[in-house]
């Protein structure tokens, strides 16, 4: 244990590098978690299809980029995700209005499997390389502060900037606008929201569209990093511990949760992994989430669970 701190003290540059690497990974987790939070906030539904949406959006983008420039492909993919939201609202959510949460959850499970298959049917199932024009080579920064500098990946920095911008826009949208207020109302009580004049269908369409666009951004960044392939749908599983940490209903929670998990698992892997034989990175996040479930089930920023009996 002490040797770890000695190591950090002796090589502060390396420690900063590990933390930065963790933050960058955390940003990526947070991007996926955001999509979950949006839909959960608005409809109380845990959208199991978020990972499939990430894959579907990334596939659309990468295949469209083969025939058109990036910005056109991005806009077209946005349009596809909005159309998808429209279809989901019409065909799945509307017939199931006022049903139990578990029914809606099962419906999203169906959407997930459908999208996985449908996406690969129309876009192909190979591994596609997504070139965003961002250099992927790692660079050294802060060489004047730390001996030997700190190694960071330029693509990670790009991802962090994109995620940051997205979060600011979403936060403003949901905290300050009447749509944000309507959304919180719908999340809390469907019937009451209708009675004050909130059209449920419209709110759901907006939320699923926004979640679709968030999935597109996440798919774009993850796709650039890992290649666009089926395993993108599985990054959604990494978002689960992030949600438990941050709270299912909190946008800032998704960000902070993502960062904590990203940094936590990197530090655990680099400094403690060797002592117990490595591989901590794979399960660290889930164990952390379990601990949180014991002591703070609503997460760091989630709405307090209030029940008057």
């Amino acid at each position: 244990m002490l040797s770890v701190f000695a190591q950090i003290y002796e090589q502060p540059g390396f420690f900063v590098e590990v933390v930065l690497g963790g933050l960058m990974a955390g940003v990526l987790y947070a991007l996926v978690a955001l999509g979950f939070v949006l839909i959960f906030k608005a409809s109380g539904v845990f959208n199991f299809a978020q990972g499939a949406m990430v894959l579907f959006a990334a596939l659309s983008l990468v295949r469209l980029m083969e025939v058109m420039p990036f910005w056109a492909a991005f806009l077209a993919s946005c349009a596809i995700m909005v159309a998808l939201a429209f279809a989901i609202e019409r065909l799945v959510l509307r017939p199931l209005v006022n049903q139990e949460g578990i029914v809606l959850f099962m419906a999203t499970l169906g959407i997930a499997f459908f999208l996985d298959g449908f996406g690969q049917t129309i876009w192909g199932s190979e591994v596609y390389t997504l070139e965003l024009g961002v250099p992927k080579d790692p660079v050294f920064i802060l060489e004047s502060v730390f001996e030997g500098g700190v190694l960071v990946n330029q693509l990670d920095i790009f991802a962090a900037v994109v995620a940051g911008a997205l979060v600011v826009v979403l936060a403003l949208f949901f905290q300050k606008t009447k749509i944000g207020l309507a959304l919180r109302a719908v999340a809390d009580d469907h019937q009451a929201a209708q009675s004050i004049g909130v059209p449920l269908n419209y709110i759901w369409l907006i939320v699923w569209s926004v979640a679709g666009i968030v999935a597109l951004v996440a798919g774009m960044v993850w796709g650039a990093k890992l290649g666009v392939q089926f395993s993108l749908a599985l990054v959604a599983l990494k978002a689960l511990p992030v949600l438990i940490l941050g709270g299912f209903t909190s946008v800032p929670g998704a960000i902070v949760g993502g960062l904590i998990i990203g940094v936590g698992e990197k530090i655990a892997e680099v400094y403690f992994g060797s002592q117990i034989g490595g591989g901590i990175e794979n399960w660290f996040a889930y164990v952390l989430a379990l601990v949180f479930l014991l002591f703070r089930p609503q997460g760091l920023f989630g709405e307090k669970i209030i029940e008057r009996v």
């Binding site: 403003l172 300050k176 109302a185 809390d188 004050i196 059209p199 307090k304 008057r308």
Partner: protein
């Protein structure tokens, strides 16, 4: 501009033309008939009570009026326009606000935010300006906030302004729910058992609020209530339902002396 009418002297109540007319409404769920051929009207500015034993179809009637249920037969005429079906948010947009028997508040939100949601339909600025909190959007938000504060003062709930409503006792939740309905500046206010589960003092307060709303803002009110004393005291006209049928309709005195009502309902007085 948002203004709230503050009376200088006791205003004169005037009962106007028919605001809402329910004509030959029938509603059933599968084989269960909730309402059978019910007709009555609500006049502008009046307090109209709907009473009847449990299961008489009172709440179903309100749900038809505000669009939660769509009756299989009959028409509802509101502000002179006949409609067969309407969705709840459309009813809200046309000035029908309501409260619920089992309280449907946004439990995670504060009292202030809950009442603020009642103003959603009044918010006109687009969300780009709102997001930036800039110019006209900021001015508008301040106006809405002022309006909400006046409702909070009116309902005497200043002390619970910031409390999440899930933590409030039942009586206060009912009051917040009334506040949210009032925030929409409704033409027609539907109250589903506004005094259920309250003690005598809370009931007196609620009666006072209902009468004040009706007198000061001229809001038309339709209410369901089981407390006969309250109903007879505050309502102008009473419609009585039993097993989904209308069995009486008239002033409290007329209804009180109606033999069918006595049989069905008041006959079981203790």
């Amino acid at each position: 501009m948002i203004t709230m009418y503050v009376p200088t002297s006791a205003p004169e109540r005037t009962i106007g033309d028919v605001l809402l007319k329910v004509d030959d409404i029938s509603l059933s769920f599968g084989g269960v008939k909730a309402l059978s051929n019910v007709s009555f009207d609500i006049r502008q500015g009046e307090i109209r009570a709907i009473i009847g034993p449990n299961g008489a179809g009172k709440s179903s009637m309100l749900n038809c009026i505000n669009g939660f249920y769509h009756p299989q037969q009959g028409t509802i005429t509101y502000k002179g326009v006949v409609r067969r079906q309407m969705r709840p948010h459309e009813a809200a947009a046309q000035g029908i606000a309501r409260t619920f028997q089992n309280i449907a508040l946004f439990k995670g939100m504060s009292t202030l935010d809950n009442i603020m949601t009642g103003r959603l339909l009044k918010m006109k600025q687009n969300f780009f300006l709102q997001a930036l909190h800039w110019g006209p959007a900021q001015k508008e938000e301040i106006e809405h906030r002022e309006f909400v504060e006046r409702i909070i003062d009116f309902l005497e709930i200043q002390s619970i302004r910031k409390v999440p409503v899930g933590r409030l006792p039942y009586g206060l939740q009912k009051r917040v729910e009334l506040g949210r309905a009032l925030a929409a500046e409704p033409t027609l206010l539907l109250l589903d058992e506004p005094m259920a589960g309250m003690n005598v003092e809370e009931k007196e307060d609620m009666c006072r609020f209902i009468l004040d709303v009706n007198e000061e803002f001229g809001t038309t009110i339709a209410l369901i209530e089981h407390d006969m004393g309250v109903v007879m005291d505050i309502s102008d006209r009473v419609v009585v339902l039993d097993y989904g049928r209308k069995i009486a309709d008239g002033t409290p005195d007329e209804v009180r002396n109606d033999q069918r009502v006595i049989d069905a309902y008041l006959g079981v007085q203790h």
